[in-house]
């Protein structure tokens, strides 16, 4: 792994019984960029993210964050080290308000113990205010001002996706893993979300790893694209290169001209 990479995976493999989900995948994620992972259904994209964030333990290979091997760490530790993520199927606490969901995302950054938090005195109070401020910044950033006190179950789908992004941001990640943040959205919502992803990347300096099916969005906002097919990485490069790459066209975009969605 070189200097410009923030996150690297090397020869990562994972089998579920007889099914090989990911095989010998190596990816370097450049610091400060947006890297997209594309590939047909079942290519192993989500499995790869799950291994990076510690939800799955890989059979072989390593995950390295800023020069540190995090392969065997627990998901909560990985989150604390600076990897945030959102899920393909929204995973919010539906009974809690937007604000509470965001505060929960902040949990890995909270230091006060149970006792001092209960007494709400001294450091604990100061810390709470600082956390609340950080959350307010995110609320403003994602334009959620009118939804603070709304339970997330009452929100529209697109808004819940936005709240989930907010919750991931609340942990102040260095790397953000987004699993289909635009899935199921209409064109307007997609454009908004693409805008937020770009702003997260540029304004907050967060490195983004994105799984997305909408080729238009991927080609527009990514710096680099990784193409997976049946668990293997078949190509890596700039969006332009990927659009012309014969293997990619064959595996993902379809062989016939009319099948292309570019």
């Amino acid at each position: 792994m070189d200097e410009v990479s923030i996150l690297g995976v090397a020869t990562l493999s994972k089998k579920f019984g007889g099914v090989t989900a990911v095989q010998d995948v190596s990816v370097d994620v450049p610091r400060g960029g947006i890297l997209s992972i594309i590939g047909p259904n079942g290519a192993g994209k989500t499995s790869l993210l799950n291994m990076i964030s510690g939800f799955y333990k890989p059979d072989t290979g390593r995950v390295v964050l800023e020069g540190r091997d995090i392969t065997q760490k627990k998901p909560s530790d990985i989150a604390a080290l600076g990897i945030g993520r959102t899920f393909q199927n929204i995973a919010l606490f539906s009974g809690l308000t937007v604000l509470d969901n965001l505060m929960l995302g902040r949990h890995v950054r909270m230091k006060s113990g149970v006792l001092s938090s209960v007494i709400y005195w001294g450091m604990a109070q100061k810390e709470d205010i600082a956390h609340r401020e950080a959350i307010e910044e995110i609320i403003e950033f994602l334009k959620l001002q009118d939804l603070r006190k709304q339970p997330t179950s009452a929100l529209a789908y697109g808004l819940r996706k936005r709240v989930e992004l907010g919750r991931a941001l609340a942990s102040e990640p260095k790397v953000l893993l987004l699993d289909e943040p635009m899935g199921g959205m209409n064109q307007d919502e997609k454009e908004d979300m693409a805008r937020y992803v770009l702003d997260v990347n540029q304004e907050r300096g967060v490195t983004v790893v994105l799984i997305e099916h909408d080729m238009g969005v991927v080609m527009d906002i990514s710096d680099r694209v990784v193409v997976l097919d049946r668990g293997r990485c078949i190509a890596t490069g700039t969006p332009d290169e990927m659009q012309r790459h014969p293997k990619v066209i064959e595996a993902y975009l379809g062989t016939s001209k009319s099948g292309g969605r570019v």
Binding site: E137, E140, Q145, D146, R148, R195, Q202, E203
Partner: protein
């Protein structure tokens, strides 16, 4: 003595300085950000205005230059306007929801050299017009969010201008005071573009005298105490907002509060509990409708309680307005209602602390009006015009009445000319239209009377009653007078009707085009299990046509026979400002609509049962598409006999 008579207090920037000197720690303005109300004291107000003025001066802003603000209500946008005025410039607020072509016209006509934009969205709009605006020198943005990707040299942040201003101020310590001292009451403070129901927008020039003297007159009728709060949520480009959030706030040392964003207005209103509220009828009607919908969804006990006390309150209000005393039982009932219903409702609406509320711009339905009054909300009517600094007449506390607009404000003289048009003279009359002397001569008589273009009369108590736009008043073929707005307002009092356009001038009878209210009609349809997909689909349902027919019949019952609508149709889309069918302040552009729907009108009077309509729809980004469809025309069977006490 009026403030404008003293050279120390005769302009808005001088009033800021006065307030900062008299009460530096008092709240000059508030803004809700990050969920908390943040206060700018009068001293902060003065500092911001001065620093921004310095910054603009360092960028070459000179006396007579124009500065436009575009965006939702933000303290920085108000500060920027006063800064421009401090340098002898003119502020030109523009509507933030205007489409690009409208903006180009106004910005070019006003000769704007600096645009202060709220955020990225407005910056994008301004940048896209840059090439069409030869005079534009800089675009200042307030909210830096998302601005990392922009490197156009014309852009700079509000903060960077302030920074430059602080450096400029150090080098030129006397500059600001000298510039402000050069200002006089007669200088143009702002150009307010009327959204114009006919033709292109016109720029009404309002002087500092207009702004200050009008505010003083208003304060004589309505108590405003220093530190009183109100919510600045109406469009900044509307003269009414400038009159309140700048004129009145500076004169009376009251506090303008900017909501967090347009979606949070209702909640912010409740949190703030303002001392005074100004809202157009649409908002009062919305409040009532929302409450109605909530009541319908509440548990039966709550619903019955609400309905019982609502009926009691309205009965008592009617009795009181007829001058009858209430019985002991009624008084007791009201006291209980106060605890159970009226107080909590006022609190929910954010009107608990409001000493007075005004509605203006268009008539408010008597039922809506009575509802709010009966719940203990001091709702009154105000009448104004852009050319009269937003205020001509208003009701005092004891004179509330849904049918009039009250007496002229102090020092304003109102007369009705022989054609029935309302005319006025006073310190609120504007300086004229910017670069349109001919139109100005048509509007203001040589001896200083402003023609409002409204037809009206004085009732027995000396209260002004407004009927319609004078030029819209026509005649039916049998010779009886036809006042379209009068009829439309009766129709719009129905909660199911959002907009109505009545036709009848030079025609044998009155016919009406109706745009249904999606929210109320939608709820009504759901209750009856009528499935629908869109506005267009809903408007085509036979049941909906029958419902609206009944509503029109109710309105007809309150109208003389010849004024009753005989035929009607339901539009398949809402009337939209983006389609130029309405002005930005939501007034129907009658002539334009008549041309656009010419074949509908022909079908009305040709006796046909349907009409083909092709309409052009303009999307928010200016793209257009057309839509052709057949709309059914319905006949009203016959109006029920007039037997209700209206």
């Amino acid at each position: 003595m009026s403030l404008v008579d003293s050279p120390k207090t005769d302009t808005l920037p001088k009033l800021v300085a006065r307030n900062a000197a008299a009460d530096p720690g008092g709240a000059g303005m508030r803004e809700k950000t990050r969920g908390v109300w943040q206060t700018y004291t009068w001293a902060d107000y003065q500092d911001h205005v001065r620093d921004f003025a310095h910054g603009m001066a360092s960028m070459g802003f000179k006396r007579g230059d124009k500065l436009s603000v575009v965006g939702d209500n933000r303290p920085q946008l108000y500060f920027a306007q006063v800064s421009a005025q401090a340098l002898g410039g003119v502020s030109v607020p523009v509507y933030q929801d205007s489409i690009a072509s409208e903006l180009v016209y106004v910005l070019n006509h006003a000769e704007t050299s600096v645009i202060v934009a709220e955020d990225q969205e407005q910056v994008d709009k301004a940048l896209s017009l840059k090439d069409q605006l030869p005079r534009l020198r800089s675009i200042v943005f307030d909210d830096p969010r998302g601005m990392w990707a922009y490197d156009d040299p014309i852009l700079c942040s509000f903060e960077s201008v302030m920074e430059a201003g602080r450096a400029f101020g150090k080098a030129n310590p006397d500059f600001y005071a000298k510039e402000v001292a050069k200002g006089a009451a007669g200088d143009t403070a702002m150009i307010a573009y009327t959204s114009g129901t006919t033709g292109a927008p016109k720029g009404a020039m309002l002087s500092h005298r207009n702004m200050i003297a009008t505010a003083e007159a208003f304060v004589e009728v309505n108590e405003i105490k220093p530190g009183d709060d109100w919510l600045s949520y109406l469009p900044m480009a509307w003269v009414g907002d400038a009159a309140f959030s700048l004129g009145m706030a500076l004169v009376a040392k009251a506090t303008a509060n900017c909501p967090e964003n347009p979606e949070t207005v209702q909640r912010d209103l409740r949190e703030l509990g303002p001392d005074a509220v100004l809202a157009p009828p649409r908002i009062w009607e919305n409040m009532l409708t929302t409450m109605q919908v909530k009541t319908d969804d509440a548990s039966p006990l709550k619903r019955r309680t609400f309905e019982h006390f609502r009926a009691l309150a309205e009965r008592c209000e009617l009795k009181r307005s007829d001058g009858n005393a209430l019985s002991i039982v009624e008084r007791l009932g009201l006291a209980v209602g106060q605890i159970l219903v009226y107080g909590p409702v006022r609190d929910q609406l954010g009107l608990r602390n409001a000493r007075w509320c005004y509605t203006g711009g268009a008539p408010l339905g008597p039922d809506t009006y009575r509802f709010f009054r009966s719940f203990g909300i001091n709702l009154k009517q105000i009448y104004g015009a852009t050319e009269a600094t937003a205020m001509i007449a208003c009701q005092a506390d004891a004179e509330a009445n849904p049918n009039t607009v009250g007496r002229p404000i102090p020092r304003v003289e109102v007369k009705i000319d022989d054609r029935g048009e309302v005319m006025l003279k006073g310190p609120n009359v504007f300086k004229g239209y910017f670069k349109q002397e001919e139109v100005t001569r048509d509007t203001v008589t040589p001896d200083g009377w402003l023609k409002t273009g409204d037809a009206g009369f004085f009732d027995k108590q000396g209260h002004l009653v407004i009927i319609d736009r004078a030029k819209d008043v026509g005649k039916l073929t049998d010779g009886s007078a036809f006042a379209p707005q009068f009829i439309e307002n009766k129709l719009k009092f129905s909660p199911f009707i959002r907009e109505a356009v009545a036709f009848g001038d030079q025609r044998p009878f009155v016919a009406a085009m109706i745009a249904i209210d999606m929210q109320t009609v939608g709820t009504w349809a759901e209750k009856r299990g009528i499935a629908y997909t869109s506005f267009m689909d809903l408007s085509r349902k036979g049941e909906v046509a029958t419902l609206i027919g009944e509503e029109i019949a109710k309105a007809n019952a309150t109208l003389p026979d010849m004024q009753q609508a005989k035929r009607y149709l339901l539009l398949n889309k809402e009337l939209e400002a983006d389609d130029a069918e309405m002005t930005r302040t939501r007034k129907v552009r009658r002539k334009f609509v008549a041309e656009k729907y010419a074949n509908v009108i022909d079908a009305f009077y040709g006796g046909e049962n349907s009409a083909e309509v092709t309409v052009e729809i303009t999307f928010e980004d200016g793209r257009k598409s057309t839509m052709t469809s057949i709309i059914a025309i319905h006949d009203l069977v016959s109006a029920p006999p007039v037997r209700r006490a209206a």
